[in-house]
């Protein structure tokens, strides 16, 4: 990330300037397509140089697709693929006479791809304006101009008493911490509770906080990573939209422990309801004295700003997220410097996943010991997981770490609907391996899943039924990988394109060349996107070698 641009942005931010991305998003919302005039305006208002603004405008999905009077966004996430093998995309394209990323000649309609809308429980999903509709007949409703908001199943708990998803939010964790704990003591509690990051990497949150707390900086920031980009996952969506106070409380606690006075939540533009829900919660919390210059009457000041992204999977990576938050291109930066040393506006910053932060109030309220006992295995706390539409009872569930995957899929979620059998699962997003039905008894925890080439990731579970074409799945995943590569590191930028080309071609894939390419991606890539994309391909090679067309 350009240190100079970050400094320029910091200076303009202090003067109240918007980010370039905010101005560009507003321009697209206003008139459907960016002009050079919009870019100049964004440069003038944000302080970012014109060239940099142009760079931003060519990066994000939301800024690239031209918008017609009706702007239709079709979800091409993994759950939608599992539901229709992308038939819904073809139907829309044919019926609208409009290719993905195009606008009809008369400007009446435009079609864009989006990954993913977080309606995996009712796939396939389509969005028009701010309304997301989903389900088997969604395409017909879109074509009839009769879309309606899809229903979302309420979250359920597999625990004796719900831990994270407790109803009635009372901010007890924050009250207790401010009244009885010093920031150092709170940090110590979080460290002892061994809260692991829920975003996928599983890094201890307390350690991250400690780095930021110990770093030098005029100010420090807490950033909630709400860019739940993993297709097949809608856990953070639920938390941000249905439990926003929990996130805000977790952020305030992090701010208290780290010595930060401001927090930012980056939400996804694919989740149009997240930002309003959080902003409403912020307003309520401010009025109640829970956020602001004097939190709960103490001399701890903390406030939160909600910023919406613009369509990019890699922005879920923490350095790319910070770039996006500052209105820059959402590309990954090499570490060091780590965000804890030089993050938002060049200042020490904690970046935590939404679910991770939502665990903090529980830790503050219940203490490290009780939090540690919530799950029987080595991992503390509970995990939210979610299932796709193929299951009988899709939705978000709170579960203990260490439960067997079979128990989750067959017990909790009721197995697949319509008597279908599970052929394989993809757990934890597109960078997770594919778990074949034969390995369903693997315990659902970080290390157990890693041992079979999979990962817990963020906890999204997408089931593929017996009808799934595994080569089509590989092609689908690699297309996603290549499309979403931020373009920074060479192995990922070129390698994922090449891998996709190998699978999309109407010929056998040369195994030796493929494996050499996968190794280059795994060992050479800058971030988990490039190094992780080979994982599902490796699983498929291992478990479904005959279905891939490998020579």
């Amino acid at each position: 990330m350009s240190r100079n641009l970050v400094e320029i942005i910091r200076r303009h931010h202090e003067l109240g300037a918007p980010t370039a991305l905010e101005v560009l998003k507003a321009a697209v919302a206003d008139h459907g397509e960016l002009t050079d005039e919009d870019r100049r305006d964004a440069a003038a208002r944000s302080g970012l140089p014109e060239a940099a603004v142009h760079g931003v405008s060519t990066f994000y999905d939301d800024l690239l697709a031209p918008r017609g009077e009706r702007h239709i966004r079709v979800c091409t996430g993994t759950a939608c693929f599992a539901a229709t093998a992308d038939a819904h995309v073809d139907e829309l394209r044919d019926a609208l006479g409009c290719d993905l990323g195009e606008r009809s000649a008369d400007g009446s309609v435009s079609l864009a791809e989006t990954v993913c809308l977080g309606y995996c429980h009712s796939a396939p999903a389509v969005r028009e304006g701010e309304v997301v509709d989903a389900g088997p007949s969604v395409v017909e409703r879109v074509l009839a101009g009769a879309i309606r908001p899809a229903r979302e199943p309420p979250p359920r708990s597999a625990l004796d008493g719900p831990a994270l998803l407790a109803f009635g939010h009372d901010w007890a964790g924050l009250s207790r911490a401010i009244a009885t704990l010093t920031p150092e003591e709170l940090l110590d509690v979080v460290k002892r509770a061994e809260v692991r990051g829920r975003g996928g990497a599983g890094f201890p949150a307390g350690l991250k906080w400690e780095f930021a707390r110990d770093a030098d900086g005029e100010r420090k920031f807490i950033v909630a990573n709400g860019d739940e980009g993993d297709p097949g996952s809608y856990i953070d969506k639920l938390l941000m939209e249905e439990r926003p106070e929990l996130l805000l409380e977790g952020m305030a606690l992090a701010g208290y422990a780290v010595g930060a006075d401001h927090g930012f939540v980056l939400t996804r533009s694919e989740y149009p309801r997240s930002k309003p829900a959080l902003e409403w919660a912020v307003a309520v919390a401010r009025r109640a004295g829970l956020l602001g210059a004097s939190v709960l009457g103490s001399d701890f000041a903390f406030d939160v700003t909600i910023v919406e992204g613009a369509g990019s999977y890699v922005v879920g990576e923490e350095t790319a997220l910070l770039a996006c938050l500052q209105g820059l291109r959402g590309t990954v930066s090499a570490r060091p410097p780590f965000p804890a040393q030089r993050g938002l506006h060049g200042l020490p910053t904690v970046v935590n996943n939404v679910e991770t932060l939502c665990n903090i109030p529980l830790v503050a309220r219940e203490g490290a010991e009780r939090y540690g006992q919530l799950s029987p295995g080595p991992t503390s706390g509970t995990k939210l997981i979610c299932f796709n539409e193929r299951f009988e009872r899709p939705g978000v569930y709170e579960v203990c770490f260490g439960t067997s995957t079979r128990e989750l899929c067959e017990g909790l979620a009721g197995g697949l609907r319509d008597g279908q059998q599970i052929k394989a699962l993809q757990i934890g997003g597109p960078l997770g391996g594919i778990l074949p039905a034969s390995l369903l008894d693997t315990p659902f925890d970080f290390d157990d899943l890693a041992a079979v080439g999979c990962m817990l990731g963020h906890g999204g579970i997408v089931a593929f039924d017996e009808t799934t074409d595994m080569r089509a799945l590989a092609t689908h995943l690699l297309r996603f990988g290549a499309t979403e590569s931020c373009g920074k590191c060479f192995p990922c930028r070129i390698g994922l394109r090449r891998a996709h080309e190998m699978f999309v071609a109407d010929e056998d894939v040369d195994r030796e060349r493929l494996e050499a390419l996968l190794e280059t991606l795994e060992l050479g890539s800058l971030c988990a996107h490039g190094s992780g994309m080979p994982a599902p391909i490796r699983s498929l090679l291992e478990h479904f070698p005959d279905e891939l067309g490998i020579a």
């Binding site: 240190r3 100079n4 400094e7």
Partner: protein, 691 residues
């Protein structure tokens, strides 16, 4: 044949080290040297690209002699030299050596300037030698010597990154010194707190923490005001003042009259901004001051430089890494040409011609006897010519008819001469009045050294040979000197440098070999130790003490009146260099092909001037026409233009007003009247509805 070598840029005073690649007598590419101390692997479009002028078809490739019919014709070197020698001898015999004057060039090498002044002093016998720093930084040179002792920057460009804060006054480095400008810009983004002071909102103002926009000609009031605040608010470094300076009490008493409110009245700078600027500078751990011609080219420019020195002394910010005074020198060797004694009152290293022991040392070495009285400065030369006292001039590498002020007067002077010899690389405005024109060489075609704005002596090496019959300046000057009966005995510029080292205590350890790739910053001790930072322990004045100067603000020589209600400020553009002799013969012309007048939207509105329309600019001294550019970068009441295009002849507008101590012209303040040329504006301002 290919040639790869490292040399030093011949454009501005930053002194970029360049890697040149030439093939078949043509420069193919130029790239910055990664180890260049001033440029650190960077350079600007002039240094990197603007080299095609070296093989431009208009390059002088043969001596020219003016015929009876008034036309210049090609001539042989023998003929040209014979004519010069016979004419100079005739005039010297008839009117004495002081009827002859020479101008050395701040574009040429140290060795060229050295042999030029030696030729004037030893072969002809006059101290009438000056150089074009007279019209740019002579006030800086004079003031630094008065205040601190030595005539050069107190530190280095590396102080830019080492400073916590800096004041940049009267300079626009991102255009005029692009590599220094880039370094300053980068430093501001890394935390350097920059205060810019300029009538125009220069680009760096956008990166600084504060911009002050004083009325042109009121810099002294601003500097006095800053010093007032420093004294008033207890920001003075008392131990430093007590131990290392003299003259504070008198200065302190004078400062009483320059409260921020007083200064606001004089300069228009808001009192609060002035106070903030003073605190930023004084409270920084290390802070530097950088300035350019916006300080010097004024009636009291030399006094403003002394006031800058005062401020630095009061705050104890001299003589440390990060606390430097850095004049941004305009030309590649403006420092060196003066260092080399191309001045009417000093030999090399600013050794006075009036100093008996110094003069004897030179007389012994050169085998001649010389006067102890100084010679004429440039403006005095022109006046003497018009008066009929000066009969001959030898002008080397300066287009005085284009760049000097009061152009009408300069031309009258040139026309009055019996002999005008011009040694240059192109025909120019001045060669129109020349009797003999000698084809010289550019910086790409010769060896020697340049001294950059941080006193760094750096090697220059020839990438290509001079075109046709053109010769190196060193060759031309030593040949003519010998023909005049004074053979200097130098084979190469390195020989000249050895003599300079022998005669100049501050250059005692300098030799081409020692300069090497990294250069040497003078003073250089006999053992080769150089001086990146001056005055770490003592100033070079009696008792080792710096001198503060109690100098009040005085109004500029040119002030607005009913007839001339607007102030014209002149300056430079990135793409061009001075008179444009070189850059206008490159593709830089393709980037910027004409001059324009910057005018504030309010003034434009009032004067019915539209962006792009043709306007006339009239001063008490002349009138020019050019196109207007409406921009808020300039304050209302001021207009700005550059002087790179001879067809615009900006300097016709400049009068005889000059710095009181050094005669440096007041280029920066001219009262003018601006009007649209077209009688009927295309746009008629709306008439307010009646009632």
């Amino acid at each position: 044949m290919d040639r790869d070598l490292t040399t030093t840029c011949g454009y501005c005073g930053v002194g970029c080290r360049l890697e040149a690649h030439a093939s078949d007598g043509k420069v193919i590419t130029i790239a910055p040297a990664l180890d260049g101390p001033a440029n650190k692997g960077h350079t600007c479009l002039k240094g990197r690209f603007a080299h095609q002028f070296s093989r431009h078809r208009e390059r002088l490739d043969s001596p020219l002699i003016r015929d009876g019919d008034g036309e210049l014709r090609r001539a042989s070197w023998e003929e040209a030299i014979a004519l010069i020698v016979s004419e100079l001898t005739r005039i010297r015999d008839a009117d004495g050596p002081d009827a002859i004057a020479g101008l050395a060039s701040s574009r040429a090498t140290n060795e060229d300037c050295y042999v030029m002044q030696r030729m004037m002093r030893a072969a002809i016998g006059t101290h009438n030698i000056d150089n074009c720093s007279r019209v740019c930084h002579s006030p800086t040179s004079w003031a630094l010597r008065k205040s601190f002792g030595l005539s050069g920057a107190t530190g280095s460009f590396d102080d830019i990154e080492a400073a916590d804060a800096a004041i940049l006054i009267g300079a626009n480095p991102t255009e005029a010194h692009p590599v220094a400008g880039a370094r300053i810009k980068q430093a501001t983004l890394r935390g350097l707190k920059l205060v810019t002071i300029d009538p125009r909102r220069i680009e760096l103002a956008d990166y600084g923490v504060l911009h002050l926009s004083p009325r042109p000609g009121t810099n002294a009031a601003v500097m006095l005001g800053l010093a007032h605040v420093v004294a008033r608010d207890g920001l003075v470094d008392q131990p430093f003042l007590a131990a290392r300076t003299e003259g504070y009490d008198e200065t302190r008493a004078l400062l009483e009259d320059y409260t921020p409110a007083d200064v606001q009245r004089i300069s228009g700078v808001p009192a609060a901004d002035l106070q903030r600027a003073a605190h930023i500078y004084a409270e920084a751990g290390e802070a530097s001051v950088m300035w350019g011609l916006g300080v010097t080219e004024h009636r009291y420019g030399s006094e403003v430089v002394r006031l800058i020195c005062n401020l630095a002394l009061m705050c104890g910010k001299v003589g440390r890494r990060g606390s430097a005074l850095l004049p941004l020198r305009g030309q590649n060797n403006v420092q060196g040409s003066s260092d080399m004694g191309a001045l009417p009152d000093t030999f090399t290293g600013y050794q006075s011609v009036a100093d008996e022991s110094v003069a004897r040392r030179f007389e012994e070495r050169w085998g001649v006897s010389m006067k102890r009285e100084r010679g004429l400065k440039i403006p005095e030369m022109f006046s003497a010519a018009v008066a009929g006292d000066l009969k001959a001039m030898y002008i080397f590498g300066e287009d005085v008819a284009q760049t000097d002020p009061d152009t009408t007067h300069v031309i009258a002077a040139l026309e009055s001469l019996e002999l005008l010899v011009v040694q240059d690389i192109f025909e120019n405005e001045t060669t129109r009045y020349a009797d003999v024109v000698l084809p010289a060489s550019s910086f790409l075609e010769k060896g020697g050294t340049f001294t950059n704005a941080e006193r760094r002596i750096q090697l220059v090496a020839p990438a290509i040979d001079p075109p046709g019959d053109a010769r190196t300046d060193f060759d031309i000057l030593t040949t003519i000197s010998a023909a005049l009966g004074h053979d200097m005995g130098f084979q190469t510029p390195a020989d000249a440098m050895d003599e300079i080292a022998a005669l100049t205590p501050d250059w005692a350890g300098v030799s081409h070999e020692r300069i090497g790739r990294g250069g040497l910053q003078w003073p250089v001790a006999a053992d080769g130790t150089d001086s990146p930072i001056l005055y770490e322990d003592a100033f070079e004045l009696p008792g080792g003490r710096a001198l503060l100067a109690a100098l009040p603000y005085k109004p500029p020589g040119s002030e607005v009146s009913d007839a001339f209600p607007v102030i014209l400020v002149t300056g430079r553009r990135l793409e061009h260099y001075n008179a444009g002799t070189m850059t206008r013969r490159t593709h830089n012309l393709d980037l910027v092909g004409s001059e324009w007048l910057e005018i504030h939207p309010d003034d434009a509105e009032r004067l019915w001037i539209e962006d792009g329309s043709l306007v006339s600019v009239r001063s008490a001294h002349g009138r020019i026409e050019l196109h207007a550019h409406v921009t808020a970068r300039i304050e209302p009441g001021h207009v700005f233009t550059a002087f790179h295009f001879p067809e615009v002849r900006t300097n016709l507008l400049i009068g005889p007003s000059a710095d009181v101590n050094t005669s440096c012209p007041e280029y920066k303040v001219v009262a003018v009247d601006v009007r649209p040329v077209s009688e009927k504006p295309r746009r008629t301002p709306a008439i307010a509805a009646a009632g």
